[in-house]
Symmetry: C2
Subunit: 235 residues, 2 copies
């Protein structure tokens, strides 16, 4: 077995943990997470399956690794400055990243072993909220609320079969044939009057919810033109 294949330095890039993980992301991007197998990964890398195991212990470690790569793509919120704007910027970037890696959202929350990029991200979120004036406890509330919404929305969004307005309408139309108007009247109404309307875009719902959440959180901040924590202006 001769592996000469050239004396030029250009082509033979040695394997590395980083190359393995990046190739894994590429395979998952191309064919979904189910298409990511040790064998498909090896093919992508131009090596044989067992070579991969020199850089990762097992497939789970690959999954943990690509989750951290994805977190690494999120823009970090800055501490200081307009905290709402920082939250919006980071959320928009996260949503963009998760849309470009549709397989990632379920993985993000199901993996436990946080990598360095993940820790950096969480740390930046906490720092930005604390700098905005939230107490530790309020920060816990805010973090849980914002990220639950973000990941939950990203899940719904990436679970949609194809993206783009018209494909959703098509899907809705074909689903409509399966359920009758008598059994599910509100579903029918909703589909006809909303989803199948021209220009419908589920992704557009995101900003409404995020702004509502940020407004609500702002109300619990003492010095933001709103009432004191725990007291709402009108009841």
């Amino acid at each position: 077995m001769v592996r000469s294949a050239g004396n030029g330095a250009a082509e033979r890039v040695p394997l590395s943990r980083d190359r393995v993980l990046r190739a894994a992301v590429a395979v998952a991007d191309a064919g979904g997470i189910a298409a990511l197998t040790i064998r498909s990964l090896a093919t992508e890398l131009g090596v044989k399956p067992m070579s991969v195991y020199h850089y990762v212990a097992n497939k789970d470690e690959i999954l943990d690794g690509i989750v951290d790569l994805v977190f690494g793509e999120f823009e970090l919120p800055a501490a200081g400055g307009d905290w709402r704007q920082e939250m919006r910027r980071r959320a928009a970037s996260a949503r963009r990243v998760l849309r470009s890696h549709p397989w990632a959202t379920p993985l993000l929350q199901s993996r436990l072993n946080a990598g360095p990029a993940t820790l950096r991200h969480h740390n930046a979120m906490l720092g930005a909220l604390r700098a905005a004036g939230f107490s530790v406890e309020q920060t816990a509330h805010a973090f849980a609320l914002i990220d639950s919404y973000l990941y939950g929305f990203a899940m719904s969004e990436t679970a949609l079969p194809i993206h783009g307005p018209e494909s959703v309408a098509d899907l809705a139309g074909s689903m409509m044939q399966r359920f009758s108007a008598e059994e599910y009247p509100h579903l029918v109404e909703f589909t006809m009057e909303h989803i199948m309307q021209p220009g419908y875009d589920f992704g557009a719902e995101f900003d409404f919810g995020l702004d509502l959440i940020l407004d609500g959180l702002a109300r619990s901040l003492p010095a933001d033109g709103a009432a004191a924590p725990g007291v709402r202006p009108v009841e």
Copy 2:
């Protein structure tokens, strides 16, 4: 072995699609979704693997089926009555169900073929919101917001390794050793001053977020003691 129709012999329950799906839920509950294989399912049912295929076309159909079973466990919100209370009741029930089937949350959103219980549930949600006075468009906002939050939160919650206060604190403690206070100062602060405090319970965050969201949505309702849509009482 005799299966006479009509009298006696209650022992040999014949297989059925329903029994197959319920057994699948039981296997997943006991060992996680990864433990659900055609073979483990057959063992649970006391039959051989290939017998299962008489009732389902393939494993994907089993996954779709158990998702619909889970949706069937959600309490449906009633149309009319106090809509916020209905939303709270249904959300609490959903959270309870998802905690009792920790494997379910990622599945719920990743499966496309909605079953009858799923459609009934969505229909009830839409109906309750419409009856509360939300327009079709506002209903879309509300539904997307509430459910993104609900599923996102459920994901975080069930991704936690073990439930109960002290186990989380233990985990946090062991994770603390992996990252230094210089690199992740806010993560350290947060862990020390919040997560590791006695009585910490992540699940308790849920109500804060849900109430904030429902309050925000109530503000967009004309006749609810709040201002007109788009105008907040205090700024």
